[in-house]
């Protein structure tokens, strides 16, 4: 039995997202909390930038939930880089227990499931689930240097530059989100044990860093009172509750093309969705939103084909977050991918819709392709994995 049904409600307290400029121009551009104007954010390397995005996504989510960092029991998170370096380096800023997770791009699903099980069992009260990915750091680790003049194949996907964090809690969230100011995101951390010289340097860089961030339009207060998409003035009519999910199995149907991750992940998504419907006794009609992670356009069609062979037709509202991430003019071919892809869409677009009560029950299936740079060279095929979790909205 791989499907879990939680006995107690696990509430989603808040979601916070930080994305890069290209993502800000994409289809969900209005929904993110912070859009950066450049993708290095005054840092010396893209890895450091990813670490900062990750740290500040967690900070923002904690603040938005109206909590202090001491209230968090466990940080859970992961990313795509070697030894989870951005997540681990981000976690050193928090005085909490830390569990690093890796399931490639489906890490977010893994984190949500493990966190909600821990809360359900009563081992923890508040847990943050965060993931991040960065186009430039992932490109350098998995593919080629940025400036190399090679052509991307048409099955390629674009790694999302973004970090997102969800705060899960056993307590009900309040009806209004806390306002997050720039100063809350970029602040001098009292817990950091740094010498005065570094502190001086840090203070100087803060103004510079603020210029790079662009708090999303929907979060700006002035003059927009009562406007519907205003995140902080809106009183949420519903709260989002994680109710269960299905843990994924590693599926390998022998795809060996690392430029075609959608095809490698689609069978895993198909297996998880089939198992979920079989074990929970629900049908696609019981949901009003089904989201897969980052299959891309071809992977999405492959999943539809695989499910139709099993007699399941995905309804019209089915969406692949990767395929819908960018506009066609942005020339990403298959769409977005990466650990930050499904996370940033969930914490912005989907969560807002849940809190407004526009979705009643949704199924989110983040998918991941499990490979590193060397396995395809050693003639290994690429297995895929997908975890599914269900979220319901309940009226206050």
């Amino acid at each position: 039995m791989r499907t879990i049904k939680l006995k107690r409600p696990v509430y989603i307290k808040s979601g916070f997202t930080i994305v890069g400029p290209k993502e800000g121009d994409g289809n969900f551009g209005d929904c993110y909390d912070i859009v950066l104007n450049d993708d290095i954010w005054c840092e010396k390397s893209y890895e450091k930038c990813e670490c900062k995005m990750h740290r500040d996504a967690i900070t923002g989510a904690i603040k938005k939930a109206g909590l202090q960092r001491e209230d968090i029991d466990i940080l859970m998170g992961g990313d795509l880089l070697n030894e989870l370096s951005p997540t681990s380096l981000a976690a050193r800023n928090f005085p909490t227990a830390f569990l690093g997770l890796y399931n490639a791009c489906s890490t977010f699903g893994e984190a949500m499931l493990v966190a909600s099980m821990l809360i359900d069992a009563g081992f923890a009260k508040n847990i943050t689930c965060s993931t991040s990915s960065h186009y430039s750091s992932a490109e350098r680790q998995y593919r080629f240097p940025l400036e190399l003049g090679n052509q991307r194949p048409p099955t390629a996907q674009w790694t999302v530059t973004g970090a997102g964090c969800t705060v899960l809690s056993s307590e009900m969230p309040s009806q209004m989100n806390e306002r997050v100011y720039e100063d809350d995101i970029i602040a001098i951390d009292e817990n950091m044990n740094i010498d005065e010289k570094t502190l001086e340097k840090y203070k100087k860089s803060i103004d510079k860093q603020k210029k790079v961030i662009n708090i999303s339009k929907s979060n700006i207060l002035d003059g927009n009172y009562g406007k519907e998409n205003n995140d902080y003035m809106r009183v949420n009519s519903h709260c989002a509750v994680v109710t269960g999910g299905t843990l994924g199995r590693v599926i390998d149907l022998g795809i060996d093309d690392e430029a075609n991750m959608g095809a490698a992940m689609a069978p895993a998504a198909c297996d998880t969705i089939l198992t979920h419907f079989k074990e929970s006794g629900l049908t696609p009609g019981d949901y009003d939103g089904i989201f897969t992670g980052d299959l891309g356009r071809f992977g999405r069609d492959t999943l539809k084909y695989l499910l139709s062979k099993e007699g399941i037709t995905l309804p019209g509202y089915y969406m692949d977050t990767g395929a819908s991430y960018y506009t066609p003019e942005q020339k990403t071919f298959q769409g977005g991918s990466g650990a930050g892809c499904v996370n940033t869409v969930f914490n912005s677009y989907i969560l807002k819709k849940l809190q407004r009560g526009e979705y009643k029950r949704i199924l989110v299936v983040p998918t991941g392709a499990l490979l590193n740079k060397d396995t395809p060279l050693q003639q290994e095929t690429i297995p895929g994995i997908a975890h599914a979790f269900t979220v319901e909205s309940k009226a206050f």
Partner: protein, 146 residues
């Protein structure tokens, strides 16, 4: 679920492919243009330095093309050309310069020694190895054939 073989057939038949005509034409035009520029530079050198031998002209021409390839890589323009032209901008000597300079720029952040110097040839390494081996073999055969 589908069998392994069946699924692999489905993917290989349905996966989107590169538009052959467009990419081939773009590669042909851009590759040809780069070669024309190289020839033009050679002709100009010949005009200025009339007493220079053809061999020297070819060496200077290659040097200038390598410099141009590196310069446009550093300016962040060569990868944009590469996205459009593909093989057309990879095969000429400017593409070789690009494949050396781009990792050097990328690994600049790990320092000069373990970054730039160690990682510079990650892309171009095989080309250099094959070049050296091929020239050794040709020289070896040539020595006995003469």
């Amino acid at each position: 679920m589908l069998e392994r073989k069946e699924y692999q057939d489905y993917v290989s038949q349905n996966a989107p492919r590169s538009p052959m005509t467009r990419t081939l034409i773009a590669a042909f035009i851009v590759g040809g243009l780069i070669c024309c520029i190289g020839e033009g530079i050679g002709d100009i050198i010949k005009l200025i330095f009339k007493e220079m031998s053809d061999k020297d002209v070819a060496i200077w021409e290659s040097c200038i093309m390598i410099f141009l390839g590196s310069l446009f890589t550093a300016l962040g323009l060569y990868d944009k050309l590469g996205h459009y032209a593909g093989g057309g901008s990879i095969i000429p000597i400017t593409g070789f310069a690009n494949s050396v300079i781009s990792p050097a720029m990328e690994y600049n952040r790990e320092g000069v020694f373990y970054g730039i110097c160690a990682k510079m040839f990650t892309v171009a390494g095989p080309i250099i190895v094959f070049g050296v081996v091929a020239s050794f073999l040709v020289g070896f055969i040539g020595y006995f054939a003469m």
